[in-house]
Amino acid sequence: MLLEVENVVKHFPITTGLLVKQTIGQVSAVDGVSFDLSPGETLGLVGETGCGKSTLARCVAGLHPITSGRVRFDGDDITNLPRARMRAYRRDIQVIFQDPYGSLNPRRRVGSIIADPLVVHRVSRGTELRRTVQELMERVGLNPEHYNRFPAEFSGGQRQRIGVARALALRPRLIICDEPVSALDVSIQAQILNLLKDLQDEFGLTYLFIAHDLSVVRHISDRIAVMYLGKIVELAGADELHEHPRHPYTNALLSATAVADPDEAERRRRIILTGDVPSPIDPPSGCRFHPRCPKARERCSSEEPPPALRDHLVACHFPVEAGEDLTTSGSGGRPA
């Protein structure tokens, strides 16, 4: 296994007090998440805004200290390493961020943004550095002559290519893609996704790919994990998850994805979930999805289902069976 994530918990304390801090509560952003990644694999991580995907990504990348649990990279325990020791692993673990506008320092030239990892990790310098950077730019589809331009002179898609080149510079083994395409136009999304796929084949990269769009994730992932309120509720192969979703939440998410074929769209029934995502400060008891679940019964509110693990696992007491129609049970409805 290249990456093993074991029961990771991340709580953000809510503090008050002028001089002496007091903790008055906590936001459970990630609450006991486990998964692993084999070399060359892509694991998609989907879920609504605020379900803890990005927090999980940053915990894995060592950008946030975690509250409890364990992260192993290539067998080494990298849980909460001090910054200086974590730097050694940054060569192997790189991150592509969501916002290609904010994540590039506007005061620095593209050449030095991409060269930075090579410089700070003392990989190359001088003319060799410049050549490496220009090769990288070419590889991700940027004009190497634009070496001296500023990020503001590029479009969103080009900026994300800069982000990809930067992440690729050190030839990492794992790249964490934190919603790399959600800020881009749909036509550009496909370009970047294809670029990421090509690069994976070429360099044998492993991806942890985060998105809130299931169709994007299906395109690129081998396996998909669905998160809800800080927990993985279902984890299965990409096609398996799409064809036989077993968790009611996954069913609801899938029913909401856009379909290009209008006849198909007409036939499809959407599962409309009622209510909002509960607050992670005070999550529901038992199964966290139970207040909104069309299949919820008494047991769901008292007993927490076992967590989803490898292969097709679902954290649900009453998984959806093939052919079951969720729109008729509970509070579902026809599309508006």
């Binding site: 001089l19 801090k21 950008l63 991150v95 590039l104 320092n105 506007p106 503001a152 050190l170």
Partner: protein
């Protein structure tokens, strides 16, 4: 490119200078002061006052007086004091060095203290240290300059001297060219006084600006790609955060060159501030005008330096 920029800014500077001299000149005549009467004294006859007025050229129309002043200014002649008859050029060349020494030395000190404490505060935001720094800054900014100056004098001069260790001199200014060591020794207390009051606002400014920048996504990117923390804070963070600090510094230094009245007086340094207060009280127009020209030039030059510094801090800025 740079030459065109400098030329354009120089022309603009001259324009500013002209407008400011015009404004000051007009204001002087609006204000109810009559230097001829002051000069003539209590028992003077109206004829004597009139004679003095004529000698000073104050009986001519304002426009004629102004054009005459402008004409001499262009030729580098700032005129003479109404009262002492001393040439303004000479007066300023006496009073400028103490003020400039005080302001520039003080500025270096307050930037080092202010920015340093600001960065410490911002990188440990909401910690106990941050709160202590914030509190001290608030205390320093709330303290009147003369209180700070007098307290320093009392403890670091008077008490030290009484204890038999006269490390620091009480007051007066020693020119740099006479003895650099003595120059610095005499300026230490004034520098600290000025810096304490000024540094406080720089701490707040740096802290706020630094917190904004450290919250930017690209700072997280820098950390994620393995940039060492010190480099993240100084190269990526502070460099961007300095822009408002530099702006404020330009304004402060420019303005203070026009006179650091209180600090100069407390430490008896002489200097522009003291000269201009005296000139205002007695209505000594040539002195006032001389100081205004000097102070305006200082502000113009300081702002020019600020703009050049912007270009160094942010390579996207091109000087045109």
């Amino acid at each position: 490119m740079l030459r065109r920029f400098l030329l354009r800014r120089a022309l603009l500077g001259v324009l500013v200078l002209w407008l400011v001299t015009l404004g000051t000149f007009l204001l002087f005549f609006v204000a109810p002061s009559d230097p001829a009467r002051t000069l003539a004294g209590r028992q003077a006859t109206p004829e004597q006052v009139e004679l003095i007025r004529h000698n000073l050229g104050l009986d001519r129309p304002i426009l004629v007086q102004y054009l005459d002043y402008l004409n001499r200014l262009i030729h580098g002649d700032l005129g003479q004091s109404y009262f002492s008859g001393e040439s303004i050029g000479k007066l300023l060349s006496q009073d400028f060095p103490p003020t400039a020494s005080l302001v520039i030395g003080g500025a270096i000190l307050w930037v080092v203290i202010g920015v340093g404490a600001g960065v410490i505060s911002a990188t440990r935001a909401r910690s106990l240290l941050d709160r202590v720094v914030t509190f001290l800054a608030l205390a320093a900014v709330s303290m009147p300059t003369f209180v700070v100056g007098l307290l320093l004098l009392y403890f670091l001069f008077f008490q030290l001297s009484m204890a038999g260790a006269p490390l620091l001199p009480p007051d007066s200014y020693v020119p740099l060219t006479d003895s650099p060591g003595e120059w610095a020794r005499h300026l230490i207390l004034p520098w600290i006084t000025l810096a304490m009051v000024q540094a406080a606002s720089y701490v707040r400014l740096t802290r706020g600006s630094m917190l904004d920048i450290l919250g930017e996504d690209y700072i997280r990117t820098a950390r994620a790609k393995g940039v060492p923390e010190g480099r993240v804070i100084y190269r990526h963070g502070l460099r961007a955060a300095l822009t408002p600090v530099v702006t404020q510094l330009g304004v402060d230094v420019g303005t203070l060159i026009g006179g650091v009245v209180v600090t100069e007086s407390v430490f008896g340094l002489g200097g522009i501030g003291q000269a201009v207060v005296q000139a205002f009280v007695s209505g000594d127009l040539p002195v006032i005008m001389g100081v205004v020209v000097l102070a305006t030039t200082a502000v113009v030059v300081a702002n020019l330096l600020v703009d050049i510094t912007y270009g160094l801090l942010d390579p996207r800025i091109r000087l045109t």
